[in-house]
């Protein structure tokens, strides 16, 4: 174990948490990667919302792990293109955008919206005579481009299009020295749009920037676009199954290459030199292509003759051929579309002015991240310039195979840290521990293991024994055995609401059972086996529920069922198990006796808690409104005139649904019911319904005996009602027919 504390400056107001890691590395399925312009920092974002900052210098070292998002990271970007920049923004798939400071790992600001950003890039322009402003260009699951202020994360204006506004798949900025900068965006359907970035400081939400032109290119599924300022005219467009070079002046196709291997698809590409192209694929391989020189030369212009530049096609090859390659994973492993992400760092080594113009020695680094194993690969490409190509004897010697320069992942780093985990209590080895719970009021630490044993220890004593040198006495711990499979979740109800008995402790495991323990004696009180899937979590119903429900806790299981378990009387009150989709939220309406379960397809199942019936299923907009309306009943103790009389309504529901147990319970146990019911009967048609049910279920003998008054009242109203006469007539007619 080693500690990886976030690098931070200590100040009296800031408390720096210390994190101690076990033998398993944190899960890091990387789905976004960005390299900062200083060339020494790489930021990766993963599926669970974690952001890792890596330092690149003679190797890759992870420096910080930042946790601020709960959903997967969809975009990461630096806030400005200068090399001294220390801030970056991250966007996740729930619409959250956070602004971070790298040096102390602090989240400076965050906003939430419904827009999901997929790619963000900063752009700096002259906002007035002496100042330059930087804005972030964002594209995502919305039409065209939003321009965001990097300091406060607000959308300043939109870059929109008059013709065919659509989601932009990728964009690049073309900077001309003599003209205004241009922004080229490509949409998923193959449309190319060109915007001229003028007067950006005058734009605001009411005045968007519109495009100069749009052109439809017949390309499917464009993934990436790249432009190199030294080539001035060439634009590389990478699509899933092909890539091409387009001449910017007349939008004609200069070079076109279709993937020969159809199992792998292109992810992104970069123009690494005036005649070379680097393409990254979904199977983690990288290819460097040599373009045919003759196609690149402008028609009618004289080719530049110099010792450093080629004049004809290498090997007289008129098609692009592969010069170098980095191997990917094996062919028959399934490669998903978004598994691999690429970032490119144009690394300018030297640029010395010479007599014939600028000679730039450019070395490019390709950085690749993989979701499969959470690894980051950095490949410092050797410059495949003219000297190099001249020295290659024949085409069959190519392609040269490389392995990349540095490759690192959290898993491989963890393997190099080989301190053994010998504590004095082998039962606490983290290989076996699945979950834990710290009960503050008793100072106890509970650890659930994968073999079903729960270990109950005193927290301070255990922690001291693990990490400090403490004389080895007998450790006080107790094993709670009862589960057959791994313990997944544990819960101490008293900590959440003091109405529960402080000695109850609940655990749920993969063997589909919930066990209630006595925390003081460590004995098993009861074992519930109502669910059909592994128990996922526990919830507490609000305190203003009915008396029976307040004795319960709710358990949610992997077969999409929710159960209300009465832990005091060891009974299951309600098992809601009809849900076809996974449960994402449970809310309560205690005054109407409803439990609302929201599923992942947006539907809401409304369950009646006391009578264990499904009231209704709502979908779409109604479902959203219903869930939002639950908040209005928080904290309200008594029903008002708007919410109906509690017990009487339940009695009627019970009669309607023929739940006789509930009916008996209501009438025999709860005296106030009768008075309330009488009140209702006098003012509404409840009497008729009640008596219909009684008459049709004539076996309610004891009901008739005990509540004579109720019956008399009801009869009085019933006999005067028209429905009763109709019913009598129907009965007579039926009897007459027989």
């Amino acid at each position: 174990m080693s500690d990886v504390a976030p690098a931070g400056t200590k100040s009296p107001a800031l408390s720096v948490p210390v994190v101690i890691w076990g033998p398993k590395p944190p899960e890091n399925k990387i789905c976004t990667i960005r390299v900062l312009p200083d060339g020494a920092t790489i930021i990766t974002g993963s599926e669970n919302g974690h952001i890792v900052i890596w330092k690149l210098s003679e190797g890759l070292i992870p420096k910080q792990l930042m946790i601020g998002h709960s959903q997967k990271i969809t975009a990461i970007s630096q806030t400005s293109n200068s090399t001294t920049n220390t801030r970056f923004v991250s966007a996740s798939s729930d619409g959250r955008v956070c602004l971070w400071e790298i040096q102390d790992g602090r989240c400076i600001d965050s906003t939430s919206s419904i827009t999901i950003h997929r790619y963000i890039y900063p752009f700096t322009y002259k906002s007035s005579r002496h100042t330059r402003a930087t804005r972030l260009f964002c594209i995502g699951d919305y039409s065209d481009i939003q321009v965001m202020d990097p300091q406060d994360l607000t959308v300043v204006f939109n870059i929109a299009s008059r013709v065919e506004p659509d989601w932009i798949s990728c964009f690049t900025v073309i900077s001309h020295t003599e003209k205004e900068d241009q922004l080229i965006g490509l949409t998923l359907s193959g449309m190319m749009k060109v915007w001229t970035l003028t007067d950006l400081e005058k734009k605001d939400p009411s005045c968007s920037l519109y495009e100069d032109e749009s052109k439809r290119l017949e390309i499917q599924h464009i993934r990436s676009v790249s432009y190199l300022s030294s080539t001035r005219r060439m634009l590389l467009i990478v699509a899933s199954s092909s890539w091409m070079i387009i001449d910017m002046d007349d939008l004609s196709t200069v070079v076109f290459y279709k993937n020969k291997n159809t199992t792998k698809r292109c992810t992104s590409g970069y123009l690494t030199d005036s005649d070379k192209v680097t393409i990254g694929y979904t199977d983690e391989s990288i290819n460097v292509f040599q373009l045919p020189i003759i196609s690149l030369q402008k028609e009618g212009a004289e080719p530049i003759v110099s010792s450093n530049r080629p004049t004809t096609n290498y090997f007289d090859e008129s098609e692009p051929f592969i010069v170098a390659t980095v191997n990917g994973v094996q062919d028959n492993v399934k490669s998903c579309l978004n598994d691999v992400q690429y970032a490119y760092l144009p690394y300018d080594l030297t640029s010395e002015p010479s007599s014939s113009g600028m000679t730039e020695k450019r070395r490019f680094s390709v950085i690749r991240s993989s979701k499969r194993d959470g690894s980051v690969l950095v490949w410092n490409m050797p410059p495949f310039d003219h000297q190099f190509m001249k020295a290659v004897p024949a085409l069959r010697n190519l392609p040269f195979k490389f392995n990349g320069t540095y490759r690192e992942s959290l898993a491989s780093i963890w393997q190099t840290i080989n301190e053994s985990e010998d504590g004095s209590m082998p039962v606490l080895n983290s290989d076996a521990v699945c979950c834990s719970l710290f009960v503050t009021s008793q100072g106890k630490l509970f650890l659930g293991r994968s073999d079903g044993i729960i270990v109950m220890t005193y927290a301070c004593e255990t922690l001291a024994r693990q990490w400090l040198r403490v004389p080895a006495e007998r450790a006080t711990s107790r094993k709670l055995t009862g589960h057959d499979a791994a313990v997944r979740t544990m819960f101490y109800p008293f900590e959440h609401d003091t109405k529960y008995d402080p000695q109850y402790f609940v655990s749920g495991s993969d063997d589909f059972s919930v066990i209630v323990w006595n925390i003081n004696s460590g004995s098993k009180i009861h074992r519930f086996t109502v669910h059909g899937g592994p128990i996922k979590s526990f919830l507490i119903p609000p305190s203003n529920c009915s008396k029976q429900v307040t004795k319960c806790i709710a358990s949610i299981a992997g077969d999409n069922s929710v159960a209300l378990l009465n832990i005091r009387d060891s009974k299951c009150m309600l098992l809601a198990s009809r849900h076809p989709f996974p449960i994402i939220q449970v809310k309560w309406r205690p005054l109407d006796d409803f439990m609302l379960v929201k599923l992942s397809d947006g539907s809401v199942y409304v369950w009646q808690m006391e009578t264990a019936n499904l009231d209704r299923i709502a979908t779409g907009l109604l479902a959203e409104d219903i869930m939002a309306a639950c908040d209005e009943q928080i904290g309200i103790e008594e029903g008002t005139d708007e919410t109906q009389a509690h017990h009487a309504v339940q009695l009627i529901r019970a009669l309607k649904n023929k739940n006789m147990e509930a009916v008996n319970k209501k009438l025999l146990e709860e005296q106030p019911v009768v008075e309330e019911l009488l009140l209702l009967i006098k003012t509404s048609r409840v009497a008729v319904e009640l008596l219909y049910n009684l008459v049709h279920q004539w076996q309610f003998y004891h009901f008739l005996d005990v509540h004579r008054e109720l019956i008399l009242y009801s009869l009085r109203f019933l006999l005067l009602s028209p429905e009763f006469f109709i019913w009598i007539r129907q009965q007579k007619r039926q009897k007459g027919k027989q």
């Binding site: 419904i114 699951d141 919305y142 039409s143 299009s161 008059r162 013709v163 065919e164 506004p165 659509d166 989601w167 998923l188 359907s189 193959g190 939400p205 009411s206 519109y210 499917q220 599924h221 899933s240 199954s241 028959n332 492993v333 399934k334 998903c336 579309l337 978004n338 073999d451 057959d484 499979a485 899937g533 992997g558 077969d559 999409n560 076809p580 989709f581 996974p582 992942s600 397809d601 947006g602 979908t619 779409g620 907009l621 959203e624």
Partner: protein, 281 residues
């Protein structure tokens, strides 16, 4: 006669079976699970993905997404047809707002509104919008784009190379497919209303002929597969506490209902496969 032998009868009972070792049981359960996992992968994955792709292909055909979806679906190029929809208000007074909208795929070609407006002559205000900036119903475009994105996802993969790691990858991909499809459904089930400020900036608002009065705003959006036209009118606070009165007119879009049906089926079958796979992992 025999005598003198002692007849001993020995019965060889087989040795008592050892009590089950809990670790062996766990190993057995784990092995069973892996076997079931492989079985599901071999039997169900291919058929489910193919069926899902077929339904998505029908959605692409209905929504004319041939340019955006995956080529392997082989959706033929087609152009949408112009359809005119009459929007009526379902509740309240039926003449407070009426609209007629001409749609081509996800574009609004023309919109005519008739609002009960006391300040205008005759008590009614009529206007026609024929925008020069392309007016897209963004929700419909989002629906199409989400569906196109999903079609690139479900790549079959090699059939004979299933093992536990491929199971995990398939499960992840199925979950991301579910996510994308529920985003697609939500884009037309839940309304995305523009705020009043955004409506002011929205270019088609200014393209009404005759121009909308200063205290009136019109908004078009989709909710529960219906095309809804909402008119926001500023009224004095005596009439309505918020100072704003809202009228709505709506019309059913039948092709969206078909799309939702297909998406629901895809969600059901993918969810079934996800629950089978997660139960055996």
């Amino acid at each position: 006669m025999e005598g003198g032998h002692s007849l001993t009868i020995t019965t060889n009972y087989p040795p008592a079976p050892a009590s089950p070792n809990p670790q062996d049981e766990r190993d057995q359960i784990k092995a069973n699970r892996e076997f079931e996992n492989l079985w599901i992968q071999r039997n169900d994955v291919e058929t489910t993905l193919r069926s899902a792709l077929n339904h998505l292909k029908s959605c692409c055909v209905i929504l004319n997404l041939s340019a955006k979806c995956d080529e392997r679906l082989q959706v033929s190029m087609s152009h949408g047809t112009t359809e005119k929809y009459q929007l009526m208000s379902r509740t309240g007074s039926s003449d407070s707002l009426k609209a007629a909208v001409t749609l081509l795929d996800d574009n609004v070609i023309q919109a005519e509104v008739t609002i009960k407006y006391p300040k205008a002559g005759g008590g009614f205000f009529r206007a026609v919008a024929q925008p020069d900036v392309q007016w897209k119903l963004q929700q419909l475009q989002d629906l199409g784009n989400h569906i196109s994105r999903v079609t690139y996802n479900g790549d079959g993969g090699e059939k004979d190379h299933f093992n536990s790691t491929t199971g995990k990858r398939i499960l992840e991909e199925l979950k991301s497919t579910m996510n994308e499809i529920s985003l697609a459904r939500n884009s037309i089930m839940l309304p995305r209303k523009r705020s009043l400020l955004e409506l002011c900036y929205f270019p088609p608002t200014r393209k009404f002929n005759p121009p909308l009065p200063q205290d009136q705003l019109i908004s078009f959006y989709i909710s529960c597969c219906r095309l809804v036209c909402a008119s926001y009118q500023m009224v004095p606070k005596t009439v309505h506490p918020q100072g704003l009165s809202v009228f709505m007119a709506e019309s059913q879009l039948p092709h969206l209902d078909d799309v939702i049906k297909h998406l629901n089926i895809v969600m059901n079958i993918v969810q079934k496969l996800i629950s089978y796979l997660s139960a055996t992992m």
